[in-house]
């Protein structure tokens, strides 16, 4: 599948701090790709390099088949970028902001603009500086959707927003998802889970994994085994077992490469025959926490 966004061995260093350490990322065309990771993982840096806001120290990035450093007027007519900490022209009213942007985009759709204004309930006559955080984000998103961009890049769009606004933003995005590739970085895993098709987990400047969300949710299981008597903690547990713990005759762990037959066989070989085995699906948030904890513990 073609990639709308791609990075190869991307490095970024701010003085002595390495923000990105060889990031290899590929966002499939047409996907809704969620880039997740703890604070300081390098998500915003990666996105800013992709948008040609920052220059990479090393490596390369490609956006819509163009080197990110070569992104120019033409490419930006097909890209919608919204960031939580973007400086908007606060002195403009919402309607004049849209009016100012319109001539920049040959594909600006006035009826879509009106639709977005209605959908987001935007106060057209109010100045951007007087909008609430949620309203500002909605105005920014509307201004980035009204020209049918091929690529929508959202950097932490849901941070600090109330659930209602988040829902409105997500709905606004999903309504236009078919015609675009969407890259969204976020901490809000519960929201991401509801609409992302792909997910990448970035940590310490490296991509730990990147896959379809359904695949990720399928391969993570919380495993609970009940034995007749308390088994000793095995020293030869597979690498895919995480947070292995025992409580009396019950052993629990997280399987990160779940396959019913293979996992049962591994349990039998490492711990012996269990009286009862349960495999519970995990939420994205739980998986994220497991991954973060495992990383912190040096696993």
């Amino acid at each position: 599948m073609k990639s709308a966004l791609r990075t190869e061995n991307l490095y970024k260093q701010f003085w002595r701090v390495e923000a990105l350490r060889g990031l290899n990322l590929a966002v499939p065309e047409g996907s809704i790709y969620a880039l997740v990771g703890p604070n300081g993982a390098g998500k915003t840096t990666a996105i800013k390099i992709l948008m040609n806001i920052l220059r990479a120290t090393n490596g390369r990035a490609e956006v819509l088949e163009t080197e990110s450093t070569q992104l120019n007027q033409k490419q930006f007519t097909s890209i919608g970028y919204v960031s939580e900490n973007q400086d908007l022209p606060d002195w403009m009213r919402v309607d004049s902001f849209f009016a100012f942007l319109r001539p920049f985009y040959p594909s600006w759709d006035l009826s879509l603009e009106n639709e977005l204004v209605r959908q987001f309930d935007l106060p057209l006559k109010r100045k951007l500086r007087n909008l609430s955080r949620g309203m500002r984000m909605k105005a920014a998103l509307a201004s980035a959707l009204a020209y049918h961009p091929k690529l929508i890049v959202l950097d932490e769009p849901f941070t600090g927003l109330d659930p209602l606004v988040r829902d409105e933003l997500i709905q606004g995005l999903l309504d236009r998802a078919e015609e675009s590739t969407i890259l969204v970085s976020s901490h809000d895993l519960a929201e991401i889970e509801s609409f992302a098709s792909h997910i990448g987990y970035l940590e310490e400047g490296r991509l730990r994994f990147s896959e379809e969300l359904t695949t990720l949710l399928d391969r993570f299981r919380e495993v609970e085994l009940t034995f007749d008597s308390p088994p000793p903690l095995p020293s030869n547990a597979p690498d895919t077992w995480m947070q292995l713990s025992t409580a009396a005759a019950v052993v629990r762990f997280i399987e990160s490469r779940f396959d019913p037959e293979r996992t049962i066989a591994q349990v039998k070989s490492v711990l012996g025959e269990a009286r009862n085995v349960t495999f519970s699906p995990m939420s994205l948030r739980s998986i994220f926490l497991v991954m973060a904890k495992a990383s912190r513990d040096g696993m």
Binding site: K48, M51, N52, I53, L54, R55, N72, Q73, K74, F76, T77, I79, Y81, S83, N85, Q86, D87, L88, P89, W91, S96, F100, L101, P103, F104, Y105, A140
Partner: protein
């Protein structure tokens, strides 16, 4: 072009208040200038001494460039080039069009109002603006290159007005430091090609910074460029071979050549010796009266530079080239060379006689287009300058308005026995043969001077240079006969004379008198 106009109109909507203030100040400036034509000296305007004409005038002159700077900075920082949070960097802006829009904004709201004001002032002063079109464009260009461009370069590397003010403070401190340093670098007044190199570097550096910021937004590189530029200018100031420049510009005359003038040392000036130097002065002022002879009739010599070297008992002191700006005329007969030594240096020379070598860098002029002229009553046209009128009284003068620039060199000569100005009470009549001179020299051949106003004020005074010391401020009144000429430069040369066996303390200014403060109590 559509994008350029679109951004320009957005800036127009956003910065109309700043533009209006700037235009208002320019109107005030024009009004103030016109008042100044009639009120060259301070004139109270009714709000007490503080808000006199001079103060208001200075305030307006300072506020106009400040308003322009603010306007340009606001417009440039409207699409800030510093940081990575600006919304516009991920919008379909084309940097060349953005830059063009900003240049257009500055041209429309700084240069155009300035041009209109200059045309208006010229017309009001009685000059034809169309005849001075080249000069007007020259003023616009110099204003853009030497004022707007540096301001714009700073605006591109600062994100906010506050940052810009801090940057300007640093620039001011740097300029003050450079000025202080240049005072302590011998001969640095003779910059020769340094000024051109400095101006070229400044313009190129600013253009580079602006381009790199708009094209790539590489703020660190742009800021380092400005720091590097400042460092380069500092190095040029410190290490420029000034003496070589002087020798190149004023070639020493060969043994076979005749100098434009000869000088010899005269006895010390008693009046000067009796003048007490300021107590806190760390320097000793020395005055060497000189006899001047051998000048060709109709010539004028300007001592553009003087270099003093004093030798005694193996000790050598060198003043470095200084610019005394000394004018010498054939009828003058005598003049003086002043210089200062540190007290400690002077003390090393005061016990014995010294040898003084004086080098003079001379600009030799010959009077041209000489004509007789009787100062009319009321307004008149002095073709070499512009529209003038004679102010009467003992300190009478000719007050002129000139278009775009003062004259390159204008010389006035008057026989003071024929002066029509009234004598003041107790003043004795002028003695026959007493010649007074007046001159205005702006140098250069540029079509206009750098500045805001298109109408320059030129005041012509006379000084009786063959009276020693000079008697400044001799009047020119209606009816005063003058000889007017526009001297042309013939050559530049350097002469050196040597005075042996000079007892330096005889030529120094009187020593500081110790001021005793006492309180007398009287009882009845």
């Amino acid at each position: 072009m559509r994008q350029v106009i679109h951004i320009f109109l957005k800036d127009l909507r956003h910065y109309w208040r700043e533009s209006a203030v700037s235009a208002g100040l320019l109107v005030a400036f024009a009004w103030n200038e016109m008042r100044g034509w009639a009120h060259d000296d301070e004139l109270a305007v009714g709000l007490g001494g503080f808000f006199n004409f001079g103060f208001l005038s200075g305030l307006i002159v300072a506020l106009v460039p400040l308003a322009w700077s603010f306007l340009a900075v606001r417009a440039i920082q409207g699409e800030s080039l510093v940081g990575n949070r600006q919304f516009w960097v991920t919008r379909p802006y084309e940097w060349k069009k953005l830059l063009t829009a900003k240049v257009l904004f500055v041209l429309v709201f700084v240069n155009l109002p300035l041009l209109i004001t200059q045309v208006f002032l010229l017309a009001r002063a009685g000059f034809s603006p169309t005849q001075h079109a080249v000069g007007l464009l020259w003023m616009q260009m110099t204003m853009f290159l030497f004022f707007i461009l540096p301001i714009a370069a700073l605006a591109t590397v600062t994100g906010t007005v506050v940052q810009m003010i801090l940057a300007l403070l640093i620039v001011v401190l740097y300029a003050v430091g450079m000025g202080f340093l240049s005072e302590h670098i011998p001969s640095s007044g003779f910059s020769g090609p340094v000024d051109s190199v400095t101006a070229g570097l400044l313009i190129c550096g600013c253009v580079f910074v602006i381009l790199i910021q708009y094209a790539r937004r590489e703020t660190t590189k742009a800021r380092l460029t400005l720091v590097g530029l400042a460092g380069t200018l500092l190095l040029i100031l410190v290490f420029a071979p000034y003496r070589t420049f002087v020798d190149h510009e004023f070639p020493p005359i060969n043994s076979g050549q005749t100098a434009s003038l000869q000088i010899s040392l005269l006895p010390p000036d008693k009046a000067f010796r009796e003048t007490a130097a300021p107590e806190e002065d760390n320097e000793v002022q020395v005055r060497m009266p000189i006899r001047v002879s051998g000048m060709a009739s109709g010539s004028v010599v300007i001592a553009s530079g003087v270099l003093i070297r004093i030798e005694s008992n193996g000790i050598l002191w060198d003043s470095g080239w200084k610019s005394p700006g000394l004018f010498v005329f054939p009828e003058q007969g005598q003049s003086q060379i002043d210089f200062a030594l540190k007290k400690k240096t002077f003390e090393r020379f005061q016990s014995s006689t010294v040898k003084i070598r004086v080098s003079l860098a001379l600009s030799v002029f010959q009077e041209r287009n000489t004509r007789e002229f009787v100062t009319p009553d009321g307004s008149f046209l002095l073709s070499e300058v512009g529209h003038c009128f004679a102010e009467g009284g003992y300190f009478g003068r000719i007050h002129c308005l000139a278009a775009l620039r003062g004259p390159s060199f204008l010389l006035l000569k008057a026989d003071m026995t024929k002066n029509t100005c009234p004598l003041t009470k107790g003043e004795s009549p002028r003695t026959p043969g007493e010649i007074a001179w007046g001159w205005v020299q702006n140098g250069g051949s540029e079509p206009a001077e750098f500045g805001i106003t298109s109408v320059k004020t030129v005041n012509l005074y006379l000084s009786s240079t063959n009276i020693y010391p000079r008697d400044w401020g001799l009047g020119i009144c209606p009816g005063t006969e003058l000889t007017v000429s526009t001297p042309q430069m013939l050559r530049r040369e350097q002469i050196e004379v040597q005075f042996e066996g000079v007892h330096l303390p005889e030529y120094r200014q009187g020593e500081a008198k110790v001021r005793a403060t006492s309180v007398v109590l009287r009882s009845r």
